[in-house]
């Protein structure tokens, strides 16, 4: 049960109200946010009690908690979440421009990449050490030593790092990694989600290849219900019949997620497209649609990359893209601000 209060409610009135509710044998949690005050009630609310609550002073409206996800829902948390990952913030107007190779190959490759990513304006580094490959005979990543390379490069350049975790027993190896990535194939690996929910590190949760938005939010809920609310959603394309792109990027997910949830959403055009020539178009579209970040594959020498070369940007392309990204992001903020200023509703 949710109780919305008059935004002008004074502290003493709030205390009195809370006391009354507790006397009705209800648990009360205060959910303050920018547009008012909301109380979350737990316990048995009979029709009689409901009648009473509705008439308490300062109560504007009562609502059932409707969505199957609770902690991920905007209902209980109307303001957008801002997640801190190392020295940067994501969400609520803070934008992440994450770049890096599909796989970490060696120190030299990662350092080179990190340098031009940072110089171009990227504020976070991606790279895979454990790789979920369709074939058991494909390159499976450097593993632990890949993570070591990554954390040393991240520290040297003062950039937070994100890498994919594939199983529970790998979690402890990620102590110097700033954000876990959960891959599309593991979006419903519920035991992994629960284990990550017991850590307090941010998690980039990729959407499963054929997951509905509701299932994706339910997977976020698996993490959050264990205590870790630092979840960032990542759209990486869904599987459809179209074959010119590897997957179909679902950019409508941005607005839908923002309707339903307070969690930030980052777009991965590299895995959606599977080809580098449309990355720029999708990236700029994502920003205009309201995304909170981009995660882009780039490699100093894509033609000789261990994996996913065809979708990795050349260094020069990454620089040009990043320049446009920041310009467009700044423009969209002004456009949004103008509207907010004019808004009457």
């Amino acid at each position: 049960m949710i109780v919305k209060l008059n935004p002008q409610t004074r502290e003493d009135e709030l205390d009195k109200l809370t006391l009354t509710l507790k006397q009705m044998e209800l648990d009360v949690t205060l959910l303050p946010h920018t547009k008012g005050i909301t109380l979350e009630l737990h316990g048995i609310v009979t029709d009689d009690k409901l009648e009473l609550i509705t008439r308490l002073p300062k109560v504007i409206k009562t609502e059932k908690i409707q969505s199957p996800y609770k902690k991920a829902s905007k209902q209980l948390h109307p303001d957008p979440s801002v997640i801190e990952v190392g020295n940067i913030k994501i969400g609520g107007g803070h934008f992440a421009m994450i770049g890096g190779p599909c796989s970490i190959e060696d120190k030299d490759q990662l350092e080179k990449t990190a340098e031009y990513v940072k110089e171009a304006g990227g504020n976070m580094l991606r790279g895979g050490a454990f790789k979920p490959r369709t074939s058991p005979y494909s390159f499976q990543g450097l593993g632990k030593s890949g993570l070591d390379i990554m954390s040393s490069v991240g520290q040297k350049l003062d950039m937070p790092i994100v890498s994919e975790v594939m199983s529970i027993d790998q979690i402890e190896l990620f102590k110097d990694v700033d954000m876990f990535q959960v891959g599309a194939r593991n979006m419903q690996n519920f035991d992994l989600l629960k284990a990550l929910g017991k850590t307090n590190k941010p998690i980039l949760l990729k959407r499963g290849m054929s997951a509905t938005i509701q299932e994706w939010l339910m997977s976020a809920e698996y993490i959050m219900s264990e205590g870790n609310e630092n979840v960032i959603l990542c759209e990486r394309g869904i599987r459809t019949f179209e074959t010119t792109t590897r997957n179909t990027q679902d950019l409508s997910a941005i607005a839908i997620v923002k309707e339903l949830s307070h969690l930030p959403i980052v777009i991965d055009p590299s895995h959606a497209a599977g080809r580098r020539d449309i990355i720029e178009s999708l990236s700029l579209a994502a920003i205009a649609a309201g995304a909170d970040g981009l995660i882009i594959e780039t490699h100093p020498d894509p033609d000789h990359a261990e994996s996913d070369g065809a979708q990795s940007l050349y260094p020069e392309q990454f620089k040009q893209l990043t320049e446009k990204v920041w310009k467009l992001h700044a423009f969209m903020k002004r456009l949004e601000k103008n509207r907010a200023d004019q808004e009457i509703i």
Copy 2:
């Protein structure tokens, strides 16, 4: 066969070259464009002839025509097409902001809509007179009288109009309509496409619900191969497993189409989303991705619309959206221009 010439080729050199090719019993068509000169050859090119052609003065390179669509392909027509629809242009930097109701209900409704669409900055009017409805028992549109209303409103406000044609025998009723629309359900109604190809009026060709981009371009080719090259493509969402939106808008189609074809592409977020709350996000994304126009459903009173009310924008929303659309479109042009100025490749 395509022959690319040195951009510095002089007129007299070109004449001489053309003459030589004709003496080889080849048909020659000149395809001048902003980046050089290309010749299209038809006839039998033996290996010997090919050898000769390659060595003719000013010839840089020869290419087979590879794509299954010929007239829709960028190979023969590297510059973007600009299509004139009434008093506006679409493509090559010219943007269409098309607004109007799903169905024309009566003169008053359409006039009111056209007025606020125009005032807001819309430059074209949409409206359905013949409606393809899933059920034979649903409102099927006003038919001929709907078109009459539409053309009188269009003339009064000096706005070009677009409406859906559903069968060959309706074509003659559209004489005062500026652009035919071919609906998603008719994208592979090949007889209709051929008949429209024999007119010279612009055609807005919607993508079928489960059409690949290649099939869509092949349908454009059906029209173009009959002589009418004024085709504008329109992405209106594809069918996927996701249920929060009616269809999944495939915004990657914008960049893909521009890779493959010279035809303009317009985005229809109303039918893709099926809900008005994400239209703005999708519209702005489409512009950032490089779309040449938007077609948006709006109604003076969506709650009482005959059809598709849930996805129609309220007048006030349409105004706010259109303001942002033009601002973002102008910004994207500057962003693009800057890049073009810097471009080194």
Copy 3:
């Protein structure tokens, strides 16, 4: 409104009841079937009238007509429809084994095919004269002369024939064809459906590539609402992400259609699979699932067919398949009969 009567209702009781209902200003249609008597009422049924109707003698139950399709629904027509096509019947236990080439190429080819199809046990001939091809540059069929060949071959061998009609103006050319086929691409070509609804010839209505079962039944309704109730549904695969088959045959559609509708359903494994090596497996599966027929592509020389060679059976394969088809069909009837005999519920 539907009124179900006691199956023991005598003729004179029925007459009396009908009279009473007519006095209530309701149109009454009698719908007798194997499991009882149902009346269909049209007119305004107020709550008072409803109350009265429920208490009339012999009335067991009243129901609203719920499905969006009326004539295609099983609600008003609980018994399966049996459609006559030339000298054969389809539905209600009658099975169609339709074979023939994708395209009619010449008289010799079609005659050869028809001969081995008939000899093998096929009871109907298919063949395309007007071909809906993705590309305007592909073979478009022989047209009118193809139909002429077909009707002469059909007459000679005394086999009913089915061929695809693509547009309204072709309808009159089909006067010697026993059944129209509406292709997947035209499933929502509503004007064509309405025109066919005004004929009295059976129609094989293919499911659209991405049509839901409900949309498919609504398209049947378009035909039926114009008066032609001789509709046979045909499942030919739906578009999915899987690439080993051209489409994914949806065999669950058989049981679903039989839950919702009285119309027969025929399966087309050739277009679903797009490869001949799995046709037998899908065909037998369709029969076990309860299909009323199969439509199979076969060609005397598939390796040199004008179209769809890869999915056409060799003559020998068609014979072997047909033999199994009839054996399995007979076995399924016995299995079904046994159950019906034992049935207690």
Copy 4:
């Protein structure tokens, strides 16, 4: 590299040939099967060596190993695999009729179910102890104690049991379970697959909701490449746009899998359909298509089941279905045998 030999090769000729190949520094593995003798070679095969091998006595043909999966491929293992699960066999003509509840609720429920499943003719028991639920707030299964109940019921009734394993640390809890099930959501949980590949227990590998058949076989390869070749594939429906069924059962997968692989394939119509009224139709279709088994949800009281009640068969339905299943399976064997006897090719 694969080398096919004349089926009439004598033992001494084979020994000589093997010796020659080993002298060429190649590893040789003998792959005898019902249709002849095949050798698998590993090592560097230069063009010169290839030339030589082709001309060795008894060599009919040499082939590259083409499919990305090796151990799952039919190329190296042309005969169908027969997997033993407790006291039953699956594959190569041996059929599994697996029944049981979605979730194990208590001993009484499982015992009742097992009794009527066995009496009806089921030869294996299914039941979930660890449940992968979309929501963290749904019933998650009885866990370890569910497995204990299951193994005691299985022993009492002498039926092998299968249950889903969701993570590596659960593996040891399954010591009394006869077959692991890997759920659709975990089909690409590669670490789990590898860990299961190190056991020697049979594994029922469900197809992921949007997995292509190739990806599914690659997941089988992950298990097999670790040493455990006892893999049984299970089709449980794929995600499509259709909404009358929860998923779309892809029965073409049966024939395709048998073309590509020697592994048995079992069909799960319960999860594909999500509704009990079409289970019979799909089950019989699966058998006619050539499936090696069925896995069906049934519950003594589906209306009060903890999970998936709507798709669980009532006991009486399960009995009727099973009777038909065995009759049809026997009939299909006769049909197949007849063909084999007549086969000329």
